[in-house]
Amino acid sequence: MSKEKLSGAELVVRSLEYMNISTIFGLPGGAILPAYDPLYDSPIRHILARHEQGSGHMAEGYAQATGELGVVIATSGPGATNLITPLTNALMDSTPLLAITGQVASEAIGNDAFQEAYTVGLTMAATKHNYLITTAEEIPQVLLEAKHIATTGRPGPVLVDIPKDILNQKVEWIEPKLTEMPGYKPTLEPNPKMISQAAELIKQSKKPILYVGGGIIHSKANQELFELATKFKIPVVTTLMGRGAFPDGNELCFEMPGMHGNYTATTSIQKSDLLIAIGVRFDDRVTANPKFFAQNAKVIHADIDPAEIGKIREPEVPIVGDAKSVITGLIEKLADTDLNTSDWLDELNQMKKEYPLSYDQEEKGPLKVPFVLEELQKLADDDAIVVSGVGQHQMWISQHWNFTSPNTWLNSGGLGTMGYSLPAAIGAKAAYPDRQILALDGDGCFQMTCQELITASTENIPIKIVVFNNGNHGMVRQWQKIFYKNRFSASELTHHTPDYVALAESMGATGLRMIEKSDVKKVFEKMLEIDDKPVLVECIVDPEDMVFPMVPAGGSNDVVILNEDDLKKL
């Protein structure tokens, strides 16, 4: 008896089901249409975005909230090119993503056919790997491989481009099996010799600091990190991507270092004699000018991606491996070492007392973002997920929100993609319908992808959006104040257009507004009460407020600008 034949399109859908994918995000079009037909009958939930960039960020939000693969599907040409931003974003932040794109028919490829784009070429530098399918038989195998590549080692986006004729080709389903890939064997287990050397350095150190980032979250190593830090009393700083990897509020947590990090976190690294860097990449937003970064410190650098080690800073002890195994190894090796870091911790705590993060909310004055955030956190659930845009508000959230567990802070760290927040929040809510998902966005960012509010309403995804309306590309304005003599070239939006409340209502959401200090609590209470549709709160905030501390790009972390007066130091 001959086996049943399926179309390439049916193979795509069956493969997704086979890989236990429950939710995908996308937008149809000519070349991918064959795949949308079997999707119509599939138990897989398809969420129809209003723009492919939105669908890509939704898949990212889904992946970043869950730690699992996010899937996005788009058509050829403009559908695929619209995915380039989220793909690059996912590459920079190591988010596991599978993008499936339609392509023009095999024989039309190369002829500038209607809606043809060289997707594999265009996304080569925007993906961890990509494929052009040439026969329908290989679809299940390639999709399984793509998932494997996206989710293992250093996670990242993988794109699979499928010509339309192949989606229509009828072949038998061949059960896919992961076979060895000769060129892809991520190193998970660290070299024990390196672990011993690292432990030796730690034992000799008087001022160690754990500098940790997104790698901890990808590796689900937060518990191990907690044990390492608390058992040996090592202070911790968490990068923008690593917020939540170690709980804020813990006496060892000094939170975020870097360009807009707090003074103590940034300075702790400068004063440290040993950086224990795990799952971080010495990003310039952390190091400022690397020449001046942690000049007194030896460095242990552990990462799953060997290319990160020595890229910016040559470590004394390089460790290639998964963060969880690395940390477990270190805990074992250190055994019952008594590190005695109490002088060091005293020094840091003294600093923290002297240079706290601060803001000034006047009773009758305009609202300040940090104040509003603190009020919101008092009312929000402990396991709420916060999804940010890019700009001043993002830095304030990272500074002032207390993150106590991993995957509760989603943001675009590496690429700094405006427009990420709202769609990523939709993705997170699709993954966790019962949790509070808070899209805390800037007005500039919101305007980049606000049409996805329609997606949230129509797909019944009741996220909460706070638009911090300072009437400006605030971060740009801040730089223009500091570096361009107050010449506000093209950074002004307006406080009044659009009417955010009306816009929200027109898109099927509830719109609320807060202007004064006395509004904040009651408006947020109302926002949190509404659970049957998306709610948008317009929060009108001070356009003149600036984010401090600040270390200017390319500067030295030894010179932290603490406030406006301090700008004279520049």
Binding site: M124, H129, L132, P182, D305, A307
Partner: protein, 157 residues
């Protein structure tokens, strides 16, 4: 700065050269030569990349991240045989013909086509020897020259 030679074993799949080239250009690596061709192993090609970069470790690591790159070996210059092929077309006339052909053959080049006013030479050798040939024939007027890129193999097992 001394040269470093990378011998890169890759899967023989469409787009592999583009991926390697894209990585090299995206990361801003300068290279002197890149040659690619089949190997004795089915489905595997070899690329030989010559660079003067101090950051050759970064080149290796970034290329290693490519899924289709299987293995990268940096060749030890003391135990490496290098070779490159060259085709060179030079002007000749009645007066110069003999001396051009003599000079070229003394350098190790083979004349593969001689016309009334041109001669084509082929040569394989180290890139330095090829440079020498080029300089030697330059005064006669080189019409066209093509070099195949440097390939290299380790001498010991």
């Amino acid at each position: 700065m001394s040269e470093r030679i990378l011998s890169v074993l890759v899967e023989d799949k469409p787009g592999v050269l583009a991926r390697v080239a894209s990585t090299i250009s995206r990361r801003g690596f300068n290279i002197n030569s890149l040659a690619v061709g089949p190997t004795n192993i089915e489905g595997r090609s070899k690329m030989t990349i010559v660079t003067e970069l101090e950051s050759v470790e970064q080149v290796k690591k970034q290329l290693n991240k490519l899924i289709n790159v299987i293995k990268i070996v940096e060749l030890d210059p003391d135990n490496t045989i290098e070779s490159e092929v060259l085709l060179l077309k030079v002007s000749i006339n009645k007066d110069t013909q003999t001396s051009v052909i003599e000079k070229a053959s003394l350098s190790g080049a083979k004349s593969v086509d001689v016309g009334q006013d041109y001669a084509v030479f082929e040569m394989t050798g180290s890139s330095k020897d090829l440079d020498k040939l080029e300089n030697l024939l330059k005064p006669f007027g080189i019409i066209e020259m093509i070099r195949g890129g440097r390939i290299a193999i380790q001498t010991k097992l």
